[in-house]
Symmetry: C2
Subunit: 417 residues, 2 copies
């Protein structure tokens, strides 16, 4: 490992120790100060961003990539406001989540504590710098940020604003550090735990980044796999509600992980098929279906086997006729990604069965899959949606960035043989 | 991967699905039936164990290793009784751990669910077969067991008893499977997740096993690193209590991970040193100390730097004079393993400082470190003590073998722009 990376890790570890002991007031003051520094540096941040964009354009990158990299005055303001939103959240550290007394008089408390040092590896989205940094500080953790090299100058300047905010509040500015080298081996060093200084890796990016993290990480990861989300329209669904939920689940935003990719229609009420296809096609969505779906509307294109496990993140949906709720469960179990799945039905027992049987992070009855979001859960800002099963599952907000310890208070108890 | 291992994984996945839906009564009936089968097969189990011991003896293995491998009629009975103890625990699955309603009317519940398929890799301790299998069934998970090859015949027979119990209760016997090959590559296949069929690895064994798991695992792990546990005797300690807690922490059982390995004495009350050294030496414990400790008793041997980070698991202790509670905290932060650490003091503020500052899974005030145990926490049986920070930290009982999902109930809510 390079000594530069090792030193960065040690600085983060030291900062984590001091941040774990920081008061709520100090952390919140830092978040407000960060927002102030970002607003004050708005012009400089946009200039740095223009420099990054210049470099990116010469590489002929995808327009969606360039869009995510691009900042505007409104987006800079949104970053600052986002930090203030984090400041008003309840401090997730120091909560007594459980407390009990043993027959021998020992009092056991389970207390929430920060995780320590969190490595965040992300693509060229400069706003992640502020979001992730702010969430880590609120939860008492130190952050090591490694953004995509195409956003280097922008992220660099944002990091300086965050560090200035920490300093203003009397906190250790090393609680948010950015990896300075463009060398990709730095990511490998982080995934290996940076000599024991990183406790958790949070990847934020597409499939290739997640795949690299999965195969190389030697420390715990909050993985974010695909969101292959489903809406199942049961025979007992209210049609107007089903149309609204399907449309919203797919089309409100097609690029978010909670957007639906496959619509399953109960074959017992095939008359639901045509109006649901129409509402999607009228909204500009391409529908790819099985034979049953194709029979209902000539505009439906044939779906291939691959479609059932494709996260389009676009105005495309796959659609299939299934044999009731169990047909839907079987399809989702086979092709889904255990992210978010919804049922539309007026039959309570069918809904309960669906909600119980499916092993997905989020299961909904009569609501849009696009509610898969930390803000919509009331968590405030989120660092992503975890599709792994352990520790965090679903939206990852400040609470999910804490762990716990047991404090035991006695009066001289020793353990008998 | 061998097709044999792949099939085993697929059978476990199918069994996990059915076990997740099993009733509490069915799971508990299975645990009772397992106990019955183990008692009925007691003689056959002892015969199989004698065969394993024969093989082990020819290898000239350590006596402690042979001891752990050895079953007696009492140990077989203890295994059966252990399964019955698991049966009486509360079902950890299906609990609503949180529930709230959003302003838009969505009702969000957080429900405990099984993790799925748990791979348990352990050394040649046949009783782990029953303990781990029973805990997995109670928590609705399927278990894939891979024990040390020296205990193969014993574990094999115990597994058959467990499967017979599952069958008696109408549950899928593949919920507990044992890897049949002695080939060590099978462990590697498990650590890689067995083609996506294993959700979690729980290693139970010594340093070399844990090191292999750390370096090879591609799925989440409940790691169990060393227990380098400390007792700090503050200047404000009550001496008789300190003597009792130090003695019990070190000597009650020296081979458990919660046994103390280092005693730290506050230099501000150096008169505590001699009586505490005496109580240890009189109990047959070797004391290795720094210069201050050596000055107090001629029988104290010199401690080397290595001693401070050594898990003796034996009647040996290291001892050091430190500069008050912060000296203790610094020592423990540098040399400890974030497992279990205790302070003895009558000063509440000093105790609070110690309990807050130390980032260990378990921190105790005026109680023995040997309380680091799932049974002593009231968790019932445990599968080990987790020293990792995420999901499970400290004793791992049936509750820690569950995860959660969010169930959301709506009335047609769609998400606004």
């Amino acid at each position: 490992m390079t000594s530069e990376m090792m030193e960065l890790g040690h600085r983060a570890r030291a900062a984590a120790k001091s941040l774990a002991a920081a008061t709520t007031d100090a952390k919140d003051a830092a978040l407000h100060a960060m927002a102030t520094h970002i607003r004050a540096a708005s012009k400089a941040i946009l200039t740095a961003n223009a420099k990054d964009l210049e470099g990116a354009k010469s590489k002929e990158l995808k327009s969606s990539f360039v869009d995510r990299l691009t900042l505007t005055p409104a987006r800079v303001e949104a970053m600052a406001a986002g930090l203030e939103d984090i400041a008003v959240l309840k401090d997730p550290v120091g909560r007594v989540t459980e407390k009990w007394t043993r027959p021998n008089g020992l009092q056991i408390s389970r207390i929430s504590v920060p995780i320590g040092v969190i490595g965040i590896v992300f693509e060229s989205r400069p706003n992640v710098t502020a979001d992730a940094g702010g969430l880590c500080v609120k939860s008492g953790n130190a952050a090591i940020l490694r953004g995509g090299t195409d956003g280097f100058h922008t992220s660099q300047l944002i990091t300086k604003c965050l560090q200035a905010g920490l300093k203003d509040a009397g906190l250790n500015p090393n609680a948010i550090q950015m990896v300075q080298t463009a060398d990709r081996t730095a990511v490998g060093e982080m995934l290996a735990g940076l000599g024991g200084t990183i406790d958790l890796i949070v990847p934020r990016g597409g499939k290739s980044l997640v795949a690299r993290v999965q195969s190389e990480a030697r420390v715990p990861v909050f993985s974010h796999l695909e969101g292959i989300c489903h809406v199942y329209v049961d025979k007992a669904a209210e049609l107007e509600m089903a149309k609204a939920i399907v449309l919203n689940s797919k089309m409100r935003r097609t690029g978010v992980c909670g957007s639906a990719e496959t619509i399953l229609i109960d074959g017992a009420k095939i008359s639901n098929l045509a109006p649901i296809i129409s509402v999607l096609i009228n909204a500009g969505c391409e529908v790819r279906g099985d034979a049953g779906t194709m029979a209902a509307n000539a505009a439906v294109k044939p779906a291939t086997e691959e479609d059932w496990s494709t996260e389009y993140l676009d105005s495309i949906v796959s659609m299939r006729v299934v044999d009731g709720v169990n047909g839907a469960i079987n399809h989702i179990t086979k092709y889904g990604s255990q992210h978010t799945d919804a049922i539309v039905t007026e039959d309570q027992a069918t809904a309960d069965h669906f909600l119980k049987e499916l092993d997905s992070a989020i299961v909904l009855h009569n609501a849009s899959t696009q509610f898969a979001d930390g803000g919509e859960f009331g968590f405030g800002a989120e660092i992503g949606i975890a599709t792994g099963k352990l520790h965090a599952r679903g939206p990852v907000g400040v609470e999910q960035l804490t762990t716990f310890k047991y404090q035991i208070r006695g009066s001289g108890q020793i353990r008998p043989e």
